[in-house]
Symmetry: C2
Subunit: 274 residues, 2 copies
């Protein structure tokens, strides 16, 4: 979905001349060729006869090290190799384990854009318009590679920002990974109650919005949880403390404390949406 959306956006904005798609799945390649997302398609890196200028690795973080291993030669040749993984320190660690030294052309990246749909058939042009893309360059990242990846994202409409991988992982644990975990937990919790058919029958719009992200790809989110373990566990523990306080306020009928907490949350949320 992300890889296809990048290809479609690059195509629509005429950013590059030749787009090569590489995927182990023949159906994915057929769709990508048929929809003109790519000019050429190969089943593996070693089948690809060309050495590309820029490589964008769009796979779940759990298999990224396998793909990096296949791209080993390109780390010596390309202008830039980048990724779209939802966690950044784990991706950098994987590459560090593989290579003796982190390559100068590697630019870790994470576009803050997504859909709950998966697969190349869910690719859309313009997915990254006005969306943030966070680049987390390593100490070894070369300025020209960083500039190359920055320009690519800007040309397909994204706003590029820079931070270190640790900050990225902490912030995303709070704003993205934690909400996903909560949405999965809520739906799982309700789906295992005796009244389940009744419960879902009477769920309204608020519930639907709240749980939309629980329709996301389970394997992808398993991997994100595993890869960003420490910051995510810390974020969950912080949430557990807040929720326990809230439950106790309800149990003790502490109306003023409840209202104060809800008001602070509403102010913060309204400010965020402005």
């Amino acid at each position: 979905m992300i890889g296809g959306s990048i290809a479609r956006s690059l195509r629509d904005k005429k950013v590059c001349e030749n787009i090569i798609g590489i995927d182990a799945c023949a159906d994915t390649l057929a769709i990508a060729l048929n929809e003109q997302l790519v000019d050429e398609a190969y089943a593996s890196v070693e089948d690809c006869p060309l050495s590309p200028n820029v490589v964008i690795v769009c796979v779940p973080v759990s298999v990224i090290s396998q793909v990096f291993a296949q791209c080993r030669d390109w780390f010596a040749e390309c202008e830039a190799i980048t990724d779209v993984g939802s966690t950044k320190q784990s991706v950098i660690d994987d590459l560090q384990t593989l290579m003796t030294e982190l390559p100068a052309n590697f630019v870790p990246a994470h576009p803050i854009a997504g859909r709950e749909l998966s697969g190349v058939q869910a690719a859309v042009s313009g997915l990254f318009d006005h969306k943030k893309v966070i680049l987390t360059p390593t100490l070894n990242t070369a300025p020209n590679s960083l500039m190359c990846v920055t320009q690519m994202w800007q040309e397909i409409g994204a706003q590029v920002e820079y931070m270190n991988a640790d900050s990225h992982d902490q912030i995303l644990a709070a704003t993205s990974h934690l909400p996903h975990v909560l949405a999965y937990a809520l739906v799982h919790c309700l789906a295992n109650q005796t009244q389940t058919p009744e419960i879902f029958r009477y769920a309204a719009g608020g519930f639907s919005d709240f749980t939309r992200i629980a329709s996301s790809d389970p394997a992808l989110w398993r991997d994100i949880c595993m890869a960003n373990q420490a910051p995510l566990v810390e974020a969950i523990e912080g949430f557990e403390t807040t929720l326990k306080q809230l439950r106790e306020d309800i149990q003790n009928q502490e109306g003023d404390a409840l209202q104060k907490m809800f008001e602070q949350a509403k102010i913060a949320r309204d400010k965020f949406t402005q």
Copy 2:
């Protein structure tokens, strides 16, 4: 918002001849008259010269007993008195405390429809189209009063269902009150971290959807939490157990358990949206 939306819907569907609005707030009455939501407007029940056929009490559950006390005469006269409170047992208990016996014309009701906006200016016609309205008649509710309220809701597009007040309160605790508590808790939790400005800067669409309900009226939700205490606390405790399990699976890198949980949640959620 709910009262105004009922008035506007009744008007648009030509369900009744004369709509009387009663509100302590002069601005609300002025808007309601100006927008022709009501034909007549009074500042209090005792100012109202007519005895209405049907009375719809649209106030937060925390002040409903005060309004019931003002309507005491109408409980002896009207065809039906109904409400729109988000909790039902507390409303019935309040009326029971006030009257020696529950009146035959009282029909407890809860439309499962809402907006995160409040006030008469947020009233919209058609808010209840294809939405469920749960009626929780008491043992004393007269069939003609139940039929009257049922027909009113059906004529403005709603689907009427019946259940007892306890079941209603348990189901709504799970599908509505718990998600609101979680959304408030998440935003409150993030808003109190040292990195807060950063955190909200990088929040994406999933976060926005997930926390939309944290923009709801704090006083209203304080009251709902207080009124539906026991079922809500039980729902929160169930969620805490699920979340603790999930956190431990992440801590222990139990990838299979995580994936299984996420898959079950996705299946349940996808089924719900079908």
